[in-house]
């Protein structure tokens, strides 16, 4: 018994630094927000930076960082952080409004390449049923099925409804777990980045000497298709692909 108590004490003590880290992040967030209110945008960004690096984030943090960048006229970074905020909270009206305002200043107006219907369906599904929730429900069903199977095997529990319930749990569990893991392996939303440079040439090859494919501008959201050393192959909304230096992009 003494062993179990010792383990519990150790586990509880491990949580103390995490709580301290939370408190420091919240304190810096408040200070950064105060700087933002005072119009000290650079100071605000300097205070927000360790919060972001602490491993904790919130849509409010990303929104305020995006706002500071917008005030400093860094449109690419502003759109990048607003997109991050939207990923954490899709329904936030402030984020939606401000993102629309920022994107109106974006120069590029590309047509959007139609997506396959299943991609839309997958994105809708992911937005509706988050992967974590789906996996937890699925694993719960899987555990229920396991318990039922063990009960049948060990205690010989039988019955028609019992059998149906066991089968239903198995099917639901497998479907949800498959959905969650497959969407994790092949994300519905591909890796996206934002162009941070005012003007950026997409090139045919990963070289500054390669021919230019198209010129894009700051704030354009691109999908990352492949990576090489210091270069990334990106696809713009109309389907055109080209290589750009990694430093010219900011991941979302």
């Amino acid at each position: 018994m003494i062993h179990y108590v010792s383990i519990a004490i150790v586990l509880v003590s491990l949580t103390f630094p995490v709580r301290a880290q939370d408190a420091e992040a919240v304190r810096l967030f408040d200070e950064g927000t105060a700087a933002l209110i005072d119009g000290r945008f650079q100071d605000a960004l300097r205070l927000f930076e360790p919060v972001e690096k602490s491993g904790w984030a919130s849509d409010a943090l990303y929104y305020n960082i995006g706002l500071a960048y917008y005030r400093l006229d860094e449109l690419g970074q502003a759109i990048r952080y607003l997109e991050k905020a939207r990923l954490l909270n899709q329904e936030n009206p402030r984020t939606q409004h401000s993102l629309a305002v920022a994107q109106r200043r974006q120069v590029d107006r590309f047509s959007k390449l139609p997506k396959p219907f299943w991609k839309d369906a997958q994105q809708w599904l992911v937005a509706t049923l988050p992967l974590g929730v789906a996996f937890l429900i699925g694993i719960a069903c899987w555990l229920v099925f396991t318990a039922g199977w063990v009960a049948k095997a060990v205690f010989a529990v039988e019955g028609e409804w019992y059998r149906r319930g066991r089968q239903t749990a198995l099917i639901v569990g497998l479907v949800l777990m498959t959905y969650a893991l497959s969407s994790s392996l092949w994300p519905a939303f591909p890796d996206r980045s934002v162009v941070l440079e005012e003007r950026l040439e997409l090139r045919e090859q990963a070289s500054e000497q390669a021919d230019s494919v198209v010129e894009v501008h700051e704030g354009l959201i691109v999908e990352v298709r492949a990576s090489a050393t210091n270069w990334q192959l990106v696809e713009i909304p109309n389907g055109t692909r080209g290589w750009v230096p990694s430093t010219s992009l900011g991941d979302i």
Binding site: G39, W56, A57, R71, L72, D73, V101, L143
Partner: protein, 628 residues
């Protein structure tokens, strides 16, 4: 009267604007030259065999006092009529400055048809020599010459009554060498949108009078942006020598044109209608006076068409280039740099220089998003007085900050193509820091959307963050506990299945079950034996050791071991392949146990424990050989 009375009225217009030109010229003209300039000219480059030609050497900038009388130039095909030159002098006061000119004239008569030539002459003014150019004169048969050129008898009028009607003479008509318009572009070829000034100059021989002049057609220049430049409304003719002939020239029109596309672009000819009176014919001033109304002849003049080859602008234009070509400078000036939220500031960006300011677009501004920026108020100031169009264009922006803070208006960029160097140039202003104080009020209804968000600006910031989430999460498929949760039930089910099969075999196969139980039972008996030994029960100890060994054999062979004699047991073990030595070890152990049960006092503690050790070693050896 030797002074020129010229009167030109010009009115700027693109189409159908009247140009009134009235020029009265007699004798020598004024000269604007302030430095000494020596020119030789003739009164006609084509004469008949019965006509004469007068050569005049004009010395501008001199009253003749410091001029050595030049020798009459040698001539080929012409004979000099007098060696002493006629002299003439003129004084002009223009703009408060006086200028003088002095002239020497000789008259030559042709000696035959063909090309005659008056050689160059040398004139010495003060200590410097000036050289004129040779002049060629075509001598044609007299019948090919118009009547006006017929040489008159200077003495005929002397014997005629002044009251006699004047003799009828045909009205002389000017030819192309007497009166013409020349179009002079400032440069050819030109770059696209480069300023090219086309100057239309009227050339007319001395003595010609013009009146009631007007444009006959609208002057057009398709493919060009056009801007009229100012010309003198009362021009004073300037004397020039063209092909040996002295002309008066005035500027009729000056236009700056900007090619809007590349290629060969043409400018229409400038056409005017006028009435001209030539000085030729009668030398009688009274007759000339009376014949004034009838001797003006309608003339139509037309400049040649001007074609300008236009080159496209070269590649490599900077991103801020928006088509400006010329020579420019840019300035940016804010009316204030410290203000409160909601107040306005004016930023004036002025571009001045030479070029097409009318179509110039605003320089690129990158105003911080915290400012409301309204369309600029544009004012253009053009200076048309010079030889090129120049001026300035000012863009006035109104900026209203919507939030507080210290901002910086980045450098304003303006690029243009400089045709002089053939390169693009870019002008950058200094960044403009702007300090905005105060706090933003809640958006007014007119500047807010239906959901309360400000129009065209970010929503307010978040003052608190409630939902914190870790950002270093691995993807679902990369977390170990995910796969553990999936595989653990499988492991449980597998374990249950194995346990279930084990249980079933224990039930269905008693022999297998006894064999599975042999080891545990023997270990149990040996443990009890050791406890008995420690408690001092030697007899019980040996009984348990024997029970452990025989019980193991009985379970492994699935036999009732208690009813067997020692030979039977040995026989069974031999049948199951147990080696004789092992059987002997078993026999020795059983004998030892018998002695221990019946004569426990004869054993030392070491002998007792050796029985335990023998049993512990014997059981695994038996198990091994039974499995073999």
């Amino acid at each position: 009267m030797k002074e020129i009375a010229g009167h030109i009225m010009g009115k700027r217009a693109i189409a159908g604007t009247l140009v009134f030109v009235f020029v009265a010229l007699t004798g020598a003209s004024s000269a604007l030259a302030r430095q000494v300039d020596v020119q030789a000219s003739v009164d006609a480059t084509t004469i008949g065999t019965e006509e004469s030609v007068t050569l005049t050497i004009t010395i501008d900038g001199s009253d003749g006092s410091d001029v050595q009388v030049p020798q009459p130039p040698e001539a080929v095909g012409l004979a000099l009529l007098q060696t002493i030159p006629r002299t003439q002098q003129s004084v002009s006061i223009i703009g408060g400055q006086m200028s003088r000119s002095f002239g020497y004239s000789w008259t030559y008569r042709p000696t035959g048809q063909g090309t005659a030539r008056i050689e160059a002459s040398t004139v010495r003014v003060k200590d410097r020599e000036y050289h004129t150019q040779a002049i060629q004169v075509q001598v044609v048969p007299q019948d090919q010459r118009p009547a006006r050129a017929r040489r008159t008898d200077p003495f005929a009028g002397a014997f005629r009554s002044p009251f006699d009607p004047p003799a009828t003479e045909p009205a002389p008509e000017p030819d192309e060498s007497d009166l013409f318009i020349r179009a002079v572009p400032s440069k050819r070829p030109a770059w696209q949108n480069e300023q090219v000034v086309i100057e239309y100059r009227l050339f007319f021989r001395e003595g010609i009078q013009l009146r009631q002049s007007r444009l006959t057609d609208s002057w057009d220049a398709e493919g060009f942006w056009r801007e009229e430049l100012d010309v003198e409304t009362r021009p004073i003719p300037r004397i020039v020598v063209e092909n040996g002939l002295r002309y008066n020239t005035i500027v009729l029109k000056r236009a700056a044109v900007f090619p809007t596309r590349a290629g060969d672009l043409s400018v229409d000819p400038l056409k005017i209608e006028s009435e001209a009176m030539l000085p030729f014919g009668s030398r009688d001033p009274f007759r000339s006076l009376f014949a004034m109304q009838t001797r003006f002849t309608p003339v139509q003049l037309e400049s040649p068409e001007v074609t300008i080859a236009t080159r496209p602008l070269p590649e490599g234009a900077p991103f801020s280039f928006n088509g400006a070509v010329g020579s420019y400078a840019m300035t940016a000036r804010p009316d204030r740099t410290s203000l409160e939220v909601g107040e306005s500031m004016q930023l004036s960006v002025t571009v001045n220089g030479r070029g097409n300011l009318a179509t110039m677009e605003a320089p690129i501004l990158d105003i911080p998003g915290a400012f409301d920026v309204y369309d600029p108020d544009v004012s253009t100031l053009l200076d048309r007085a010079g030889s090129q169009l120049k001026g300035s264009k000012t863009f006035r922006y109104i900026l209203i900050p919507r939030t507080n803070g210290t901002f910086e208006i980045p450098p304003i960029t303006f690029s243009w193509f400089d045709p002089g160097t053939g390169r693009y140039r870019t002008s950058l202003t200094d960044p403009i820091p702007v300090s905005v104080t105060g706090t933003a009020t809640s958006p007014l209804s007119v500047t807010a959307t239906t959901n309360g968000m400000p129009v065209d600006d970010f929503a307010p910031l978040f003052t608190a963050a409630e939902a914190w989430t870790p950002t270093d999460r691995l993807p679902l498929h990369a977390r170990w506990w995910v796969w553990s949760l999936i595989l653990l039930p499988l492991a449980v089910m597998g374990g249950v299945r194995v346990w279930r099969r084990h249980q079933n075999r224990l039930v269905r196969d008693p022999r297998w079950a006894r064999g599975r139980r042999a080891h545990p039972l023997s270990r149990k008996h040996l443990k009890q034996a050791m406890e008995l030994l420690e408690s001092g029960d030697t007899q019980g100890y040996f009984e348990e050791v024997e029970r452990a060994v025989l019980g193991f054999i009985g379970n492994r062979l699935d036999i009732a071991e208690k009813g067997l004699t020692r030979p039977q047991l040995d026989g069974l073990l031999a049948e199951r392949g147990i080696h004789e030595s092992l059987r002997n070890r078993l026999k020795a152990l059983l004998d030892l146990c018998d002695r221990g049960r019946f004569a426990p006092a004869s054993f030392s503690p070491e002998n007792k424990e050796s029985a335990f050790d023998d049993a512990s070693a014997l059981i695994p050896d038996l198990d091994e050989q039974l499995d073999a």
